[in-house]
């Protein structure tokens, strides 16, 4: 009973401080001066450098999804619906969520470890003493970069995933890429695409904010840094699903489905 109470308190405490940490992004992070140079550097690291990984997983995902889905569709005699089904699955859910999860695995952990070790070796304090707001310089730039880069990665990931799906379709039948794309987009609407696209901004924000939070409040020692990297990935991944759930409910309410 006692353990449960302390755990609950710890959870509430953690939620509160994470919220406060995130709120600081809007109070501190958006005010000048802007760390444009650092933001660009982070965009390069967080966005560009993640592309190969995202591209590889997206390609395999598209291929595997097609190969898995095909037999069932054949049984029901709707094999011709394969492109549109794949298209909807990728654009609405699999593209954004898989990309975000891979992104969380790569970025949340690296941000968590980086800020964690900076915290432990007092580099963050050194920044503070050197007249640079470390929240602005380290946290705001990374959160912003993650928020902006994940949507770009998702769009590219979707495209690569569709290419993988095309290869998968082509293993059994010969289809031109143009026909495949036309079939995919035939029944896709903005209602499919826009909510999925918009939620990736939130995914990116969550990954950045959680990675920074876990690193920023890392406890001392190598163990502490490892823990914060690990906790960042776990929490960010869970958060992605929570946001996904919220997003689908909101789009439902707005009638965008």
């Amino acid at each position: 009973m006692h353990g449960f109470a302390t755990k609950t308190r710890f959870f509430l405490n953690e939620t509160g401080s994470l919220s406060r940490f995130t709120a600081r992004f809007f109070s501190v992070g958006v005010k000048p001066r802007y760390e444009v140079k650092e933001l660009l550097a982070q965009c390069y690291i967080i966005g560009y450098k993640s592309l190969p990984l995202i591209a590889l997983t997206a390609f395999i995902m598209g291929l595997v999804l097609t190969m898995q889905l095909r037999p069932s569709l054949v049984v029901y005699g709707v094999e011709s619906k394969l492109p549109i089904m794949i298209g909807i699955a990728i654009v609405r859910e699999i593209g954004p969520v898989i990309t975000a999860l891979i992104f969380a695995g790569k970025i949340a952990s690296s941000i968590g470890a980086e800020l964690g070790s900076m915290k432990v070796t007092e580099q963050i304090d050194a920044m503070e003493v050197s007249g640079t707001n470390p929240y602005k310089y380290l946290v705001a730039t990374r959160v912003m970069a993650a928020t902006l880069m994940l949507p770009v990665l998702t769009v590219l990931g979707d495209a690569i995933c569709l290419f993988g799906a095309y290869i998968g379709v082509n293993m059994h039948t010969v289809t031109s890429y143009r026909l495949f794309i036309a079939q995919v987009f035939q029944d896709l609407t903005f209602g499919d695409f826009l909510p999925a696209f918009i939620k990736t901004f939130f995914f990116g924000f969550a990954v950045g904010a959680i990675g920074c939070y876990k690193g920023y409040y890392s406890s001392k020692g190598t163990r502490g840094v490892g823990n914060s990297a690990n906790a960042a990935v776990v929490l960010a991944s869970v958060m992605i699903f929570v946001i996904d759930l919220l997003a689908v409910q909101i789009t439902d309410l707005l009638g965008l489905n």
């Binding site: 980086e114 070790s117 070796t121 007092e122 304090d125 003493v129 007249g131 640079t132 707001n133």
Partner: protein, 261 residues
């Protein structure tokens, strides 16, 4: 305020009469972490151009003390007056202005390991209300590195440097804004006696050259002997004893004697 103003200010003060007004006044300072009481009614006054060495056992709260002075930690109670400004009550911008006049050497160097030595040294210069030209920045960087005898490391990464070199680069970064007060957290710990001696000499040389006021935390009795105008023993969260190095050496107090064995 432009960089030029800072140096002028400094010059004015430095060329004036020997000023005995205290630059750091610490009154009734309390600080605890949870149940652990670290500082318990600590008092200290540091005069201009004085080198004060703070002695104390590991975990006695020396680092906590100087972090309170620079505003990295907020004390629970008490005043810390630096240039007559009460640090715990200052807002962000005012604190930043005081901090340009205070250098801080971290116990673990705290060099930014993702940046080159040059970028590390440039970092304190990028305060938003200082507008240096690139030429001036380069000049300051090289001057600071020359002071510590490491001009050739300017484009190296911290990971490529030895422990002693790191300490000296960290010192260079601390000195780059020519602070009037420097807080050294164990500047010679972990160094061989020769390098430690160099660092001691550097501290003394800087004090002569720039007329700085220093608080030096150290366990290294050679360093204490070389640099101290006055020694303060921090024990039980209080200023347990103070005096000159010979006073301490001659003391019969058990707590003090420990450090000379």
């Amino acid at each position: 305020m432009k960089a030029a103003d800072i140096t002028e200010d400094q010059e004015d003060l430095n060329h004036g009469e020997a000023d005995v007004r205290p630059v750091i006044v610490i009154e009734h300072l309390y600080k605890k972490f949870g149940d652990l009481v670290v500082l318990d009614d600590f008092n200290l006054v540091v005069k201009r151009e004085e080198n004060v060495v703070v002695l104390g056992k590991s975990g006695s709260g020396k680092s906590v003390l100087i972090k309170c002075i620079i505003g990295l930690l907020k004390p629970d109670k008490g005043n810390i007056l630096v240039f007559d400004q009460n640090i715990p009550l200052l807002g962000h911008d005012d604190l930043d202005r005081v901090r340009t006049k205070v250098g801080f050497l971290f116990q673990g160097n705290a060099l930014y390991d993702s940046m080159t030595v040059r970028e590390n040294l440039e970092f304190p210069l990028r305060r938003h209300w200082i507008d240096f030209s690139q030429q001036k920045v380069d000049e300051l960087v090289m001057e600071a590195l020359n002071n510590v005898g490491l001009p050739h490391t300017v484009d190296m990464m911290p990971a490529e440097l030895s422990g002693g070199m790191l300490k000296r680069v960290a010192l260079a970064r601390t000195l780059i804004l020519k602070p009037e007060i420097i807080l050294y957290d164990e500047p010679t710990t972990g160094l061989d006696p020769v390098t430690a001696r160099e660092i001691d000499n550097l501290i003394i040389r800087l004090q002569k050259k720039y007329h700085t006021t220093s608080i030096i935390i150290s366990h290294d009795m050679n360093c204490v002997k070389n640099t101290a105008d006055r020694v303060v023993l921090l024990s039980g969260g209080k200023c347990y004893a103070q005096g000159t190095y010979p006073d301490f050496e001659a003391s019969a107090d058990e707590n003090i004697k420990q450090f000379f064995e």
